[in-house]
Amino acid sequence: MIDFELEPQILSRLQMFHAVSEHMMRPISRDCDEHEHTKPTKFYESMWQASAAADIQVGNDRSKKADGAAASAPRRANLMTVLSTEELCWGDAGLYLSTPNSGLGGAAVMAAGTPEQKERFLKRFKEGKPKWGAMAITEPSFGSDSSQVTTTATRDGDHWVINGTKIFCTAGEMAAEKSEGFVVVWATVDKSAGRPGIKPFVVEHNTPGMTVARVENKLGIRASDTAALIFDNCRIPLDALLGSAEVRKEGGFKDVMATFDATRPIVAAMAIGVGRAALDFVRDFLKDQKVAIRYGISPRRLTAVERDFMEMEVQLQAARLLTWRAAWMLDTGKRNSLEASMAKAKAGLAVTLITQKAVELLGPLGYSRKILVEKWMRDAKINDIFEGTQQINMIIIARRILNYSSKELN
């Protein structure tokens, strides 16, 4: 039965996330943006403790949920995740991404690991000091075409030996060197085998042969580190391979591609959080300036500002509803690849434009670093890029609606 109402328990939980945004993120938001590689350690500590105490699940941490999606998950888990993500990214999307947790590395372990591996690699996130998990897949020579992995894993007695370079690894520095975390590295065990030869390996922090080559300087989300990692004869134990070494089994790679169905609505929700921050700011600002937004009047009598504001508002709501639907489908056990990509494509683009418009509407004030609106415009853009660019998602949507394979439409 069609229903657009959030129940009171969810709303009160969201208030808690909102308080985190307002009191822990916003106050350090500008500072973390201006000092890109300085770590807000106090923030990490508080978030780590809050997460342990109240089971607040922050970031791309799906380790607490069975396989990201499946029907066994509680009926609201994915919806709750997108709602809380929006709330936290209203605070700060970069800080949200930098929050200590198992991250995408944890998601890969959950998707491809054995029960023993899940226990071994993930239990650290419930104890001790703040830790990070990360996933390294992108290489300098490819991005969206993730079947082109050139990093190799070669069997040498009781070890795998990893060689190659990985880039764009979110929280890579924290996971590899600055905490007792790990990095899940995608490497090929047999280049001639193509996709089925690509396997995920867990490389523990400070493993000799793994070095952080650099941490990128970015347009936005500067509170989140984006690392380049070099693997130079990096030796790891045999049981660091997640799942099976058998090349014919496509298992691992396919499973992790399937986690996009769960992560794309989350990225859409990140975008929506940033967009809402900008929209709220503009709304309050216009109210201060005594500029009324007159809903219901003739569209021919709207001012340009009213028209722009309403457009921002309705685009954001459209993206939000698509995102809720994609999450709801996961919660109810429905296949949602199409809808997840729709939400991601819509939200990524809509919020890119909404935040750009917010800067424009505020004129000289919007362009100034005194307020956060210009930062939100820079932060927003990443959502149109990572977890599948706008264009990759459009291809996925097009294939689905046309019933074409990747060979037929590429």
């Binding site: 229903d3 129940e7 021919r300 709801w328 459009m394 609606i401 046309l402």
Partner: protein
């Protein structure tokens, strides 16, 4: 609790109305657009679905069930078939539903029975006025209290089926300073003194729908003609219901253009391959699909708010304006995907583009 699933009953309604739209309305759409007439048999058949009688109270022989969400689902399906035909077969709602919702007991008893009968009962409402900055909340047709009744003056346009309706619900300002709250509805017999009905209007699209201009010159009606009596009406809510209905039809038009363009693009070959296998075309289709789903969800949300009892002014306004823009874009893309063929009247996409342009111009000619 957030849920995007239709109820079983809504699913059944969607399936049966959808099949009717696809199999019977759609084939009639082009001839109706060219000739300006809709086959009587088709109108009669649509009437059997009970789109109007379903909401009439039981004691007058109706089904006593009304939901804006279900109404939006029906409107979308009919709009998918053809929006002119949809507007025609649903036009009696414009008169009947406000009486069901806000009429006095006398008004209900007097007017509702005929909508529960077996034959199509033409009826309508007059909302729009022929001004570029027409504003629902600033009606220029005035209703002045005069002795025991009211005197109406001013002009209306886009009044569907005015020439064949016995009575017309006319909206007019009783107090122009009060915005929506100052607007009332008046039940005016078509032949009342002081009412002039124009020749049929000639419009860019919606050509199968007969619409008229109405002029009121010192048209006198009794106090009992005022909808809702002394209590008056919640005009803002009525217009939200209207926006939701019209927007839902727009989603149907968008979907019609999308399906047609998608199927064409898979058939049509260029450079040896179907044009749909080219990203330039595939991305247009993907964008159309996103916009349709986005628009539908906005419409459903506004409808849901109406069902919960709110006036949903903001949601329905934003949803309708969203559809005004996205329906234009999507139907334009429909023409574009077909290229030169899209411009030829042999294909329906040019008709949908003409129809879609109407959303930005018109309000108040449908309701849920």
């Amino acid at each position: 609790m957030i849920d995007f699933e239709l109820s079983e009953e809504q699913q059944m309604i969607r399936d049966s109305v959808g099949a009717f739209a696809r199999e019977e309305i759609r084939p009639a759409a082009r001839p109706a657009d060219e000739s300006g007439t809709i086959p009587a048999a088709l109108i009669a058949k649509a009437w059997q679905f009970g789109f109007v009688s379903g909401a009439i109270p039981e004691k007058f022989g109706g089904g006593d069930a009304r939901s804006a969400v279900t109404g939006a689902i029906v409107a979308e399906e009919l709009g998918f078939g053809d929006i002119s035909i949809a507007l025609h077969v649903l036009a009696p709602r414009l008169f009947a539903f406000p009486i069901v919702e806000m009429g006095t007991d006398d008004q209900r008893a007097k007017y509702l029975k005929r909508f529960a009968g077996p034959d199509f009962a033409a009826a309508t409402a007059a909302v729009m006025e022929p001004r570029f900055d027409f504003d629902l909340s600033a009606q220029q047709v005035s209703a002045k209290r005069d002795g025991a009744g009211y005197v109406l003056n001013g002009g209306k346009c886009y009044v569907p089926l005015a020439a064949e309706s016995d009575s017309i619900l006319v909206y007019a300002a009783t107090d122009a300073s009060k915005g929506f709250a100052g607007v009332d509805g008046f039940i005016v017999p078509r032949g009342a003194a002081g009412v002039t009905i124009s020749e049929r209007e000639k419009n860019m699209g919606l050509k199968a729908l007969a619409t008229y201009e109405l002029t009121f010159k010192d048209c006198r009606v009794g106090a009992d003609a005022r909808l809702g009596g002394d209590k008056g009406i919640d005009f803002s809510r009525l217009m939200s219901e209207s926006r939701v209905a019209f927007a839902a039809m727009g989603v149907g038009v968008m979907n019609a253009a999308f399906e047609y363009a998608r199927d064409y693009a898979k058939e049509r070959k260029a450079f040896g391959v179907p044009i749909a296998t080219k990203q330039a075309i595939a991305f247009i289709l993907a964008d159309m699909a996103i916009e349709i789903d986005a628009a539908r969800l906005l419409v459903w949300e506004a409808a849901y708010k109406l069902d919960k009892g709110g006036d949903a002014l903001k949601e329905s306004y934003l949803a309708k304006n969203y559809v005004s823009q996205s329906a234009l874009k999507v139907t334009d893309n429909g023409v574009q995907v077909l290229g030169g063929h899209g411009y030829i009247r042999e294909h329906p996409v040019e008709m949908w583009l003409r129809d879609a342009r109407g959303f930005s111009a018109i309000d108040g000619i449908a309701t849920v």
